[in-house]
Amino acid sequence: MKSSRIVLSLFVVVALAQLAVATNQLWRSEWTLRMGKRYKFRTAPVDPYDAFRGRYVALAFEEHEAPWKGESRMRYGDTAFAVLREDAEGFARVSYLTAMRPDNGDYLRVKVGYSGKSNLVSYTFLFDRFYMEERKAPKAEQAYRENSRNTYALVRVRNGIGVIEDLFVGDKPIREFAVSARPPSP
């Protein structure tokens, strides 16, 4: 009786832990998509061999280097905060990187890359892909690659979390592009 009670409580703990890990991601992302502020991030061309990985478009971003603010320097792979602003054209720019969570304004958690001799530090965003339906993805990827200088990701940002809402080629969401790129039915 005692052992079955132990098994039961262990089962509850394990089941809850598994659900917590899964729903935590779900909840944070959903909440960010509903409540986060929209930012437009210009994407950069990626290696064509790397761009399409089966069911998602791999993304690289124009913003990838920023000045470091603060005393402590970070090592490769550490997490830092990128403080955001919008430029005159309405696209997102990173003002600076810092080790401490900023008190106000919008910011994103980023992964620190290599830093040179100057104050500039490279970084990568934690979002780097956009999933699509398997049939649409190849066409979308083609459109994305052909117009890679005119593409941007619409990202919702809240409390350091960024979730991609949509990917645009020119003014069109990439999904529409994929549909319109389909040959007209006879």
Partner: protein
Amino acid sequence: MNKQALRWLYAELPTLVSAGVVPPEVAERIRKHYGDVEAREIGRRWLIVLFAIIGAALIGGGIILLLAHNWEELSRPVRAAISLTPLLLSQALAAWVLWKHSDNTAWREGVGTSWTLAIGIAIALIAQTYNLGGTFPDFMLAWTMLALPVAYLLRATLPALLYLIGATIWSGSVLNEGSKSLWFWPMVALALPYLWVTARENRYHPQPLLVCWVLSIVGAIGAGFGAHRFLDEFSWWIVLYGGLFATWWLVGVRWFGEATSIWQRPFQIVGGLGLWVLSLVLTFSDPWGDVARYVWWGDLQGNPAEWITAMVWPVAAIVLWVAAWRRCEPVELLLGAMPVLAAIGQTMAFHNMEVAAAVLFNVYVLAVAVGLIAIGVKAQRLGIINAGMLLLSALILCRFFDADLGFVARGIAFILIGIGFLVTNLVLIRRKGAAQ
């Protein structure tokens, strides 16, 4: 014949023998013909378990493929909810199995498999729905660590095997992140209590045997991942793998010494095959040449954990080998000597004596082959003789690759070896037959 009828027959046999209806040797022959009731039962039970596992794995795989389609017609929250459904269903099923069928192996293994897959499905599909980045190692780590308790809760072996394989894949995926892949060993340690629990009563039961098979294979792979900088920078693979395979073999001889089939000797087979292949490779001088060429005292000097994991296998093997001296087991002494010779060879090669190191291993392999044949002949054991003869022919084959010999010479040599095989086997089989 069905199980109940067989039980009845076996219960009747003593009465029939004592009544003089059936002579005792006929009763014994009947028993031999039908075999052990329990063994038949275990075999059948494991067949059902196998089907349960395959079924669960197929359903899980199908769900992954269906959901990976990324149904854009469905709204985001609906897709997110669907991602969690397999996990919730598996958990509910697991609760039901624990409650109602905790003694049914097929249910435990089947549900354990689908539960393990459902954890991965949930994490991956939520990441897909929300376009989350995340790296492959992070995903593998989360999945394996969340799946390990499934093995313990359901006392299910397949989740434990999936965990061990997952830990190895994770370790391989973080090779470029310094010494992070060393965490493979603590991850393996987390699965060892499961092995202990299942092996406690009978180590020859399919459950602990399966764990041992997978452990002996992933252990060999993970040892390389953990010590990859040693392998790159010192050609340490010779001593490391010599030590690891010898340890596997010697541990196997101790723990699975009463095994009656190959299936019951996981560590002996993996360790023995490893030693076999490695020793033959080292009879060539090329691998030894690399030892002197690629030594680089990089940034290893500051990491004691890496030193320990690189040294532990040769040290363990030598300790077990020294212990084998006391037992005076000739086969153990022969095969267990490999890491000692590997260390000697490594030292020789380090001082630019790579040809001498290769010669050392040629002599060693020859000694092992001849030794095995001699031991086999003395004990009249065909298996050992054939292992020795195979090793001898493999050694000759290897030297043929080196030497500039014509086809005629090679052809004659192979024919002679072939005749040797046939004659030895024939003679021994006849002698055994005559003895019986």
